[in-house]
Symmetry: C3
Subunit: 129 residues, 3 copies
């Protein structure tokens, strides 16, 4: 059910971008108990002048490799699980594709369980079927 939007500067290889998607999906599986195969990820690549970021906000040194990850999820996770997600995403993306953890920006948008339809016009999470 998470819907993931990834925004980054243009120029990374398909393998690099796939590693980011894979890492986020794996972190969601491990920390948010997202079901297997529940993977919907959109990537937007930007030219430099359409990607504006703070290079040192909160004392964190960011580079042009910054990746902004916005995840829409159901509003069922505790603060502890959110912290676990953030840590796991940063750790996995540091492993592969080898990102700096400073360059991993994550934001969660929470919605009600009834706000999803995964196909066929049905609100699967609140239907009997």
């Amino acid at each position: 059910m998470p819907l993931v939007r990834i925004d980054l500067r243009r120029g990374k290889s398909p393998a690099y971008r796939k590693a980011i998607c894979d890492g986020i999906y794996r972190a969601l599986r491990e920390t948010f108990s997202v079901p297997e195969d529940d993977r919907f990820i959109l990537v937007n690549e930007h030219d430099a002048d359409n990607f504006s970021y703070a290079p040192s906000y909160l004392g964190i040194s960011r580079t042009n490799d910054l990746v902004i990850i916005q995840v829409t999820v159901s509003d069922t996770r505790t603060v502890a699980r959110k912290k676990a997600l953030f840590a796991r995403v940063a750790s996995l993306l540091a492993q592969n594709p080898g990102m700096r953890e400073e360059d991993v920006f994550i934001n969660l948008v929470e919605v009600k369980k009834e706000n999803w339809s995964f196909g066929n016009g049905i609100a699967q999470y609140v239907e009997a079927n």
Copy 2:
């Protein structure tokens, strides 16, 4: 007031994409009582490696024709109306442009009525004017 974001694979004709926009707008009018002419729809077309989806999550068979629709709306609708929206969008997109209902993914993000400004720097839904 709904702000609609549509994400899909690149390659569909303008007429096909317009039919999707028209169907969503009509479904919002019919099921969410959205006012006439209240239509703000953004479409993002993706290359294959920037559009990752689950081909069978929840037993629904999805294809490359999958369309991911994220609608930001005021938080005033019941579960019943949300179900009606989902069903109507899928039904209308099946009619035109002839999509498979399995390929219609919808997510709602709800916000307060005061969170909109439709121009002129005014929060129209909470202003006296």
Copy 3:
């Protein structure tokens, strides 16, 4: 902490788009007390057939210069501050790059303070550090 998404028609100069980003950032600083250097702004440029808008909804006359601004922020602002933000953004964008105030569309998506990680896998707004 605000994450800003700007959607507009393709064709505006880098300077024009930068002026929009600068104006929004300044308005957020002034009306939402956003910290200095807290600036994360994504711009998406669309072809005409991927940017559908209501030309006169609520009696406001919009043109192809319409800019749709969606700001994800923590849920800590009053209605009065939101109204101030809307007014300030419209006013600043009218000054530079010289937009019509009718063409400034703004939507706020509010999230909990714990929903942000600005790097290093930490939820900075709820951590002791």
